[in-house]
């Protein structure tokens, strides 16, 4: 049960870390995200334009099929209707029965095509006006054919006069009605074609407007994206430049102060102002102290540079937490005592060894202790505690070393920025507390290189607690464990 709970906690923690990492990546790669969004918008616009073109093409095709082909069919109907009548009249012009029969046959073939065409028109009719017109045309055509049949019969019988009379009285008026019907059908098609042309024109104009709108939007979006990207880059560059200027100023100040002391002491000695042995020893001590301070500062800068560029190599091995803390306290004791700080130490028994590079971890923890001294304010006490961490970490088990002070504290809005290189809080600048802005970034880099991390809890005016989380070594007590090299 406990193992299952442990696994679930570990999974949850891993997921949370993954989310945090993803958020961090997103924030870091906002430019790429914006470019990706621009790409998506361009693709969407392309798809939209293709769809719009398809719609316009469909409308044009429908118009062609509906009106242009309809007009062509009506033209054919008109021709065949004329052919029907023409062949009938040709039969009147000859007395040869064979020719008359041939003309009658031609007339019947043509009328068959007209009848079929009218049926097709009726089948394709959708609106009431088309249906009414089609039915009327069918009725008038049937009436004409009835007269035409009688006329043909009379012609073939040889009753030409009777045929002519019949054609004049019945055939001509009925054929005129058919012709008018066909003209009306043609007009209707013309009207429909005009209406559809208007629709296509409107649709085309609408498409153009839509495309212009979408293109404008895309352009504005792209411009805005580029502006945001450029502004972001510019702000970052400005921020970095400002930090570097601050850093140079801080470093100059940090260098100048001990150098001034060293110079003044050396000058006094050279001028023979200091002739007593005790004073000489004191001056030597001062020069040595400030020289070490200078060396420490230069080393820290060089270490950060090498860490930042990924050139530094660490030799990882199992380390005892107590040894780390002892080493750090020894290195910082003099400084803490000078500042009047008391250091409370508490180490949990049976802590597992941690995996890391001894000098690097000492440097990391030392930075935290020095910060506690520097920003400890009016409550000169520091508490260093080492204890076993929770088991809900990806690497199984961890050891935590916390450094707690009761100083000025850090505002919540600055908790993320304090780990950025060269960052110095306006509060500490105003308080004339000198520094380079490299201590915490260096400590963070080292912790991460060891597979751990640094967390911070702070409240303005109450104090801060920085905790170094280090993974416990899997090989407990293996003093001769094989060293592995991690490259940053």
């Amino acid at each position: 049960m406990s193992e299952a709970s442990h696994n679930a906690k570990a999974s949850r923690s891993a997921f949370q870390r993954l989310l945090q990492a993803a958020s961090s990546q997103i924030a870091r790669h906002s430019s790429s995200l914006l470019l990706f969004m621009v790409f998506c918008v361009v693709i969407a616009v392309g798809v939209f334009m293709i769809g719009d073109l398809h719609t316009a093409t469909d409308q044009a095709q429908r118009m062609y099929a509906g009106s242009v082909q309809g007009l062509r069919q009506i033209g054919e109907l008109q021709y065949e209707a004329q052919e029907t009548r023409r062949s009938t009249l040709y039969a009147l012009t000859t007395n040869d029965s064979n020719l008359q029969v041939e003309y009658a046959d031609q007339s019947r073939k043509a009328d068959g095509l007209v009848t079929e065409g009218i049926a097709q028109y009726l089948a394709g009719a959708h609106i009431p006006r088309e249906l009414e017109l089609g039915k009327r045309l069918q009725r008038d055509w049937a009436a004409y054919l009835k007269v035409r049949d009688e006329v043909l019969a009379s012609i073939l019988e040889g009753s030409t006069k009777e045929a002519v009379d019949m054609d004049l009285t019945g055939g001509v008026p009925s054929f005129d009605r058919v012709r008018q019907d066909l003209e009306e059908v043609k007009r209707l098609y013309d009207e429909q074609a005009s209406e559809q042309l208007k629709v296509v024109g409107l649709s085309s104009r609408r498409s153009v407007l839509r495309l212009v709108g979408v293109l404008c939007f895309t352009l504005l979006f792209a411009i805005a994206s580029v502006w945001v990207i450029q502004r972001s880059k510019m702000l970052s560059a400005l921020k970095l430049a400002k930090m570097q200027m601050d850093f140079v100023a801080s470093v100059s100040h940090e260098l100048r102060t001990p150098l001034a002391v060293i110079c003044a002491s050396a000058q006094n000695i050279a001028d023979g102002v200091v002739d007593e042995k005790e004073k000489l020893a004191k001056y030597g001590s001062v020069i040595g102290h400030h020289s070490r301070q200078l060396t420490e500062l230069v080393n820290q800068i060089l270490l950060f540079a090498s860490t930042h560029e990924g050139r530094h190599r660490y030799a990882l091995r199992p380390l005892q937490t107590s040894a780390i803390i002892e080493s750090v306290l020894t290195n910082t004791r003099e400084l803490a005592e000078e500042a009047g700080f008391t250091v409370e130490k508490s180490i949990e028994s049976n802590l597992p060894p941690v995996m890391g590079d001894f000098s690097a971890i000492c440097q990391c923890l030392q930075n935290l202790v020095l910060n506690a001294v520097k920003y400890g304010g009016s409550h000169p006490s520091i508490a260093i505690r080492a204890f076993r961490g929770g088991e809900d970490v990806p690497y199984g088990e961890e050891v935590r070393i916390s450094v707690e002070d009761h100083g000025i504290g850090i505002d919540a809005s600055e908790l993320q920025q304090i780990f950025e290189p060269f960052y110095r809080s306006p509060v500490v600048k105003a308080a004339q507390i000198h520094g380079t802005g490299l201590g915490l970034p260096l400590a963070k880099s080292i912790a991460e290189a060891m597979g751990g991390r640094i967390s911070v809890v702070s409240k303005v005016g109450v104090g801060s607690r920085f905790t170094l989380h280090l993974p416990a070594s899997q090989v407990v007590g293996a003093e001769n464990a094989v060293e592995r090299v991690a490259q940053l």
Binding site: S97, N98, V101, A153
Partner: protein, 177 residues
């Protein structure tokens, strides 16, 4: 050798017989009746004509132009084929009982005296005759039975259809010579 030649000759003759009369091999009921039907002449009228049966005597009055209207009131239009065509010869022989000269003289004389009311229309092909009859409601004509289609109506003569053995109008092979 001679026996072999005789045998081959007999086999060839038998195959020729089979080739000439395929109906025999297929087992048709009456080859003679089939040949007879193919040689009959059908009297055709327009589909709208109400007449179904006609006697040979009535047919003679029609073909001699001595009858002007059908019972339904439509004017009779007589359709003949060109002179010399076997079908025309058969009609003149079996219905009009005249030769070509007598037939022409009959119409010339009849039209002059007013005894003949109808002047025959002359067409050159059975298809033309059929189409003419199809187009003219009062037309009457003749074609071979094999040339008949659904566009025209075939009438019975003396109660006999064109397929009956007793059908009186036959087109004989010698007419085509």
């Amino acid at each position: 050798m001679r026996r072999l030649l005789a045998l081959l000759t007999m086999v060839g003759a038998a195959m020729l017989l089979l080739e000439v009369s395929p109906g025999t091999a297929k087992g048709d009921p009456s080859p003679a009746a089939q040949a007879s039907a193919d040689q009959n002449l059908a009297i055709i009228v327009n589909q709208t004509n109400t007449i179904d049966d006609i006697t040979l005597k009535e047919l003679r009055t029609v073909f001699l132009g001595e009858r002007s209207h059908w019972p339904n009131g439509r004017r009779i239009t007589l359709v003949m084929m060109d002179p010399g065509v076997p079908e025309r010869k058969a009609i003149l022989r079996d219905i009009c009982r005249m030769n070509e000269t007598e037939f022409s003289r009959h119409f010339l004389q009849g039209l002059f005296t007013g005894e003949v009311f109808v002047s025959p229309k002359t067409l050159s092909s059975p298809t033309g005759v059929r189409k003419f009859v199809f187009n003219v409601p009062g037309a009457i004509g003749y074609v071979r039975a094999s040339d008949v289609d659904g566009t025209v109506k075939v009438i019975r003569i003396n109660g006999h259809g064109v397929d009956d053995p007793e059908y009186p109008l036959r087109f004989e092979a010698r007419d085509s010579k």
